[in-house]
């Protein structure tokens, strides 16, 4: 996973867009600093922070020892003391070691104190499978985190969002978890020279369509769009909704698209049982049951720790073909 030093470009990679977002935040606000394992000398395990150490120095681009609970909690404490920390956890699996701090402290301190304080912290982490990293490096737990009151959860799926969500998250007075799907870093796309902050509260229709809604986010967006292309070929017009914010969910956008199409497939890389897709399905039932012409379907990951072998990993994950089949079932 090599990379070149960033230049603002018309076709940046997702990695470069994230890096540019961090650089902008570090320049604009001296309370912002980045802390995590190998974010400095190494340049970031996925090279997202490459070059930032040279520009901002070791105090603000702070390498930490392997102490996930310690440095995530330190980020919470620094936020309480007026800083605006960006804490990077290399991979979502390692965040389990910091879950006590995230759930018992970051998410609860404001409430437990009766509103005396707030925790303006952003935690970034890599999520998802697709790189044959096997069962301890491939979880997709962002939807699981979305269960926790007191935090917000966002998942940039596009270059614009990679560039624009971080700053908005840093303005948020409460803790925001930002999930970067590992397969997106090398993707690239056009980005306006003046691209900047974007809202992080609303879902976005990435493709308009009238026959069926496919609701997804993060690493699955591209797969949904690919499936939509295929289906367009056989005359099925799919509307693709990118949730963007997993907590809170944009109920209005969800019900709008379902009311338009009356049919829905939710695509989520999480393990099927108890995944975010279940919450989306349940809400559709609660909010627009009588608009549905067919039961909501879900395309999720197989309920198996991610296998290493490529053919097994591919079979375990949502794929365009499986999305196409699900859509054909709901429009049948």
């Amino acid at each position: 996973m090599t990379t070149t030093a960033t230049t603002t470009t018309a076709q940046p990679t997702y990695r470069e867009a994230m890096r540019e977002a961090m650089r902008e935040a570090l320049r604009k606000d001296d309370r912002v600093f980045l802390m995590g394992e190998d974010v400095g000398r190494y340049g970031g395990s996925y090279a997202v922070s490459l070059g930032l150490l040279e520009e901002f120095g070791p105090e603000r681009i702070r390498d930490t020892p392997l102490s996930e609970s310690g440095f995530v909690g330190a980020g919470i404490g620094a936020a309480l003391a007026g800083m605006r920390p960006i804490v990077e956890i290399m991979t979502v699996n390692f965040s389990l070691l910091a879950l006590d701090q995230i759930l018992n402290n970051a998410a609860t301190l404001r409430h437990m104190s009766g509103g005396q304080m707030n925790v303006p912290l952003v935690i970034r982490m890599t999520t998802g499978a697709g790189r044959q990293l096997a069962a301890q490096h491939s979880h997709s737990l962002e939807g699981w985190y979305a269960h926790i009151p007191g935090i917000k959860v966002i998942a940039p799926a596009t270059i614009e969002d990679a560039r624009g969500m971080l700053w908005t998250a840093l303005q948020d007075p409460d803790p925001v978890l930002l999930f970067e799907h590992g397969t997106l870093y090398n993707t690239s796309g056009p980005l306006a020279e003046d691209a900047g902050p974007v809202d992080i509260a609303r879902a976005a229709v990435r493709r308009a369509g009238s026959d069926v809604s496919v609701i997804t986010y993060g690493g699955s967006l591209a797969k949904a769009l690919e499936a939509a292309e295929t289906l367009a070929g056989s005359g099925i017009e799919v509307e693709v909704l990118d949730l963007r914010s997993l907590r809170p969910l944009d109920d209005e956008a969800i019900t709008d698209t379902v009311r338009r199409t009356h049919r829905c497939v939710v695509v989520d890389e999480g393990w099927r049982s108890g995944s975010l897709s279940a919450e989306v399905s349940a809400r559709i039932t609660e909010q627009c049951f009588f608009d549905l012409d067919a039961p909501v379907e879900r395309v999720c990951s197989a309920e198996v720790p991610m296998p290493y072998a490529r053919h097994l990993e591919e079979a375990a994950l949502p794929q365009p073909e499986r999305i196409v089949e699900a859509v054909r079932r709901v429009v049948a």
């Binding site: 600093f33 105090e59 930490t64 020892p65 102490s67 609970s69 310690g70 440095f71 995530v72 909690g73 330190a74 980020g75 919470i76 404490g77 620094a78 936020a79 309480l80 003391a81 007026g82 800083m83 920390p85 006590d100 701090q101 018992n104 402290n105 301190l109 404001r110 409430h111 437990m112 104190s113 009766g114 509103g115 005396q116 304080m117 707030n118 009151p149 007191g150 917000k152 948020d172 007075p173 409460d174």
Partner: protein, 337 residues
């Protein structure tokens, strides 16, 4: 911002500054003792619910440490923190109201006994996860250091926290980054029902903390003057840029771990031995020997403190509950919701 709320009991005219000071220490310890003894009664009367952990016997630690701090210093505490809060100057009314779950409580009744907060006094709360407050303290100290603020963050925790990984991660981070933090370990020899020697392979806690390369030493936690003195030494060193310090404050809890604890794990004789070293008795006896305190003065002081507790209970009884429609407030910052 004032750390003390009520005025100090007027000492006899001839009292020296040192005598005045000891009288204040005695008074602060009595406030904690009488407040907590009352809480135990109120628990039995079902006025207070949830878990209640009192620190009767450990008052010298709270008072001695707090006395050595400045207003700008920060504190992170545990679920056994009534004494820390009172000694820091959190008004007794607001602490008692919190025990009652009233909206006038220092956490609006949402936290209860284990979650007392007072951000104006940089009291960053009771934390009910053993060792869970330590990473917060590391972060507070990191921020203050990055901002070149001359502040010290004190983190209280018990001997039991030594077994938790979070504690070790924090010792390393604080020592590696030379953060202005004081690790205040309240070693009362038990973690619930587990004696120190059945929980720790090496029971010399000050020695183990020293293995992180920080200044570390044990202190008689039953002697408030010794605790204050040791804390001053540590805090001066930390404020001077010397990096973190660790104090093993050797103390003992006279009462049960919580209201549910039948104390099967230790014998009465041991408790009695420690009661002979009651920090309040030790100080008052010494003051009387030094003719700094008469029995009358002591009684008057007790009456005064009792009256403060009575007022706190009355106020808590009379206070309002938070309206139900506010249930989901304070989950997110409102301007944003």
């Amino acid at each position: 911002m004032s750390r003390r709320t009520a005025t100090v009991h007027p000492p006899a005219p001839e009292a020296s500054p040192a005598a005045k000071h000891r009288l204040e220490l005695l008074r602060d310890m009595m406030r904690i003792r009488l407040f907590e003894e009352r809480c135990v009664e109120l628990y039995s009367a079902s006025k207070i619910r949830g878990f209640l952990h009192v620190a009767v016997g450990e008052e010298a630690v709270a008072v001695g440490v707090m006395r050595a701090l400045e207003d700008q210093d920060a504190i992170v505490s545990t679920y056994r923190e009534h004494g820390h809060a009172l000694a820091r100057g959190v008004p007794m009314d607001s602490v008692m109201a919190e025990m009652y779950g009233k909206v006038t409580g220092c956490s609006r009744g949402r936290g209860g006994s284990m979650h007392l907060f007072d951000v104006d006094r940089r009291f960053y709360g009771g934390n009910a996860i053993v060792a869970g407050g330590l990473p917060l303290a590391v972060g507070l100290a990191l921020a203050d250091k990055m901002r070149n603020r001359p502040t010290v963050t004190v983190c209280f925790f018990g001997d039991g926290a030594f077994a938790e990984g979070e504690f070790h991660e924090c010792c390393n981070l604080a020592a590696l980054w030379q953060l202005p933090i004081l690790f205040a370990c309240e070693n009362n020899l038990y973690a619930m029902g587990t004696a120190l020697e059945r929980a720790q392979a090496e029971t010399d806690l000050a020695l183990r903390a020293a293995s992180y390369g920080m200044a570390s030493w044990p202190v008689d936690g039953m002697d408030v003057l010794a605790v204050e003195q040791a804390t001053r030494v540590a805090v001066d060193r930390i404020r001077g840029g010397g990096g973190p310090c660790f104090l093993e404050l050797r103390t003992y809890r006279f009462r049960a771990h919580s209201m549910y604890d039948p104390e099967r794990y230790r014998d009465k004789a041991e408790v009695e031995r420690w009661r002979e070293r009651d920090p309040l008795d030790q100080l008052s006896t010494r003051m009387r020997e030094d003719h700094e305190l008469t029995q009358e003065q002591q009684n008057a002081l007790g009456a005064e403190v009792k009256a403060e507790v009575d007022r706190a209970v009355e106020a808590a009884e009379a206070a309002e509950l938070e309206p139900l429609e506010d249930l989901t407030r304070f989950v997110y910052t409102e301007s944003e919701m």
